[in-house]
């Protein structure tokens, strides 16, 4: 069992985050388990509580609630460094068990900029490819896009920026 775990770590699946546009991000990751298990871990509140907090940043889960059906609501509360509470919540827009899920997500400190997240679970040979497509609609994001009309140029800007920053480091 220990040896197996070590082996899993050695061949760790890569997490990628890709900017699709100025308001869209794609998070992609393969998991070594069937879609029904990955889906459960992603949606069942008591399971979400086990992995959602980034522990290395001094964050822990205070509570997780999720009513996983279209129109149902979810709310996750985290605590930062033992004091400050941070809450995220939203509503389920689409629920197709083990294949697809869509929901709104609001960082309650900034209730005016909700985002929507569409998650797909694609099982192949006992493994599951998870793709989370986040679309932001924050005022800042929109303002920036409108002010410059740069929707098409965003990727190019990011590429140029990568080079620029590399030359500065």
């Amino acid at each position: 069992m220990d040896a197996k775990r070590k082996n899993d770590t050695a061949t760790k699946n890569q997490t990628t985050v890709e900017r699709k546009s100025d308001r869209e991000l794609l998070i992609t990751r393969m998991f070594n388990g069937p879609a029904r298990i990955v889906f459960d871990a992603w949606t069942k509140a008591e399971l979400v509580a086990r992995w959602w907090a980034p522990k290395s940043r001094g964050v822990s889960v205070v509570s997780c609630n999720a009513d996983v059906r279209v129109g149902g609501r979810w709310r996750y509360v985290l605590r930062h460094s033992g004091t400050e509470e941070i809450a995220f919540s939203g509503e389920y827009l689409e629920v197709k068990p083990h294949t697809r899920l869509a929901y709104t997500s609001i960082f309650e400190a900034f209730p005016d900029s909700p985002s929507t997240v569409a998650v797909t679970f694609e099982e192949r040979d006992g493994k599951t490819l998870l793709v989370a497509h986040e679309t932001y609609s924050s005022k800042e994001a929109l303002d920036a896009a409108i002010a410059t009309g740069m929707e098409g140029g965003m990727r190019e800007t990011m590429d140029q920026l990568d080079e620029l920053v590399a030359s500065l480091l």
Partner: protein
């Protein structure tokens, strides 16, 4: 973050930022090099200054514009930090998935053991 993006989304402003990598420069030199007139350059520099991408240093009779790298680094780092956040979550999720797989196996085993016992 988004202000920095908006500021860099304008091609001439991006060219100014690139040009300033070489070091602090006065307005007229920026204009000459990039073939922009002075009011244009001043306007762009004002926007860049507002988002903290450039700073002004008075030197003798001149005002020199200098690149500040910090907002650029922040912008660049942001996606990577976000990726690391998810990567950390997913490592935990990996462990949970292993545990759930084990549980499923045990259940299957119990079921088949149960069936055997009934026989």
């Amino acid at each position: 973050m988004f202000e920095t993006f908006a500021a860099l989304g304008e091609p001439n402003r991006f060219r100014i930022v690139e040009f300033l990598r070489a070091g602090p420069r006065p307005v007229n030199e920026i204009g000459d090099r990039l073939q922009l007139n002075q009011p244009q350059v001043s306007k762009h520099l004002r926007v860049l200054k507002e988002v903290g991408l450039v700073d002004v240093q008075p030197r003798a009779q001149q005002r020199l514009y200098e690149l500040r790298a910090q907002p650029l680094r922040e912008l660049h780092d942001w996606l990577e930090r976000y990726r690391q956040l998810w990567d950390e979550r997913f490592d935990e999720l990996d462990e949970l998935i292993e545990e759930l797989k084990e549980k499923e196996k045990e259940k299957e085993k119990e079921k088949s053991d149960g069936r055997k016992k009934k026989k």
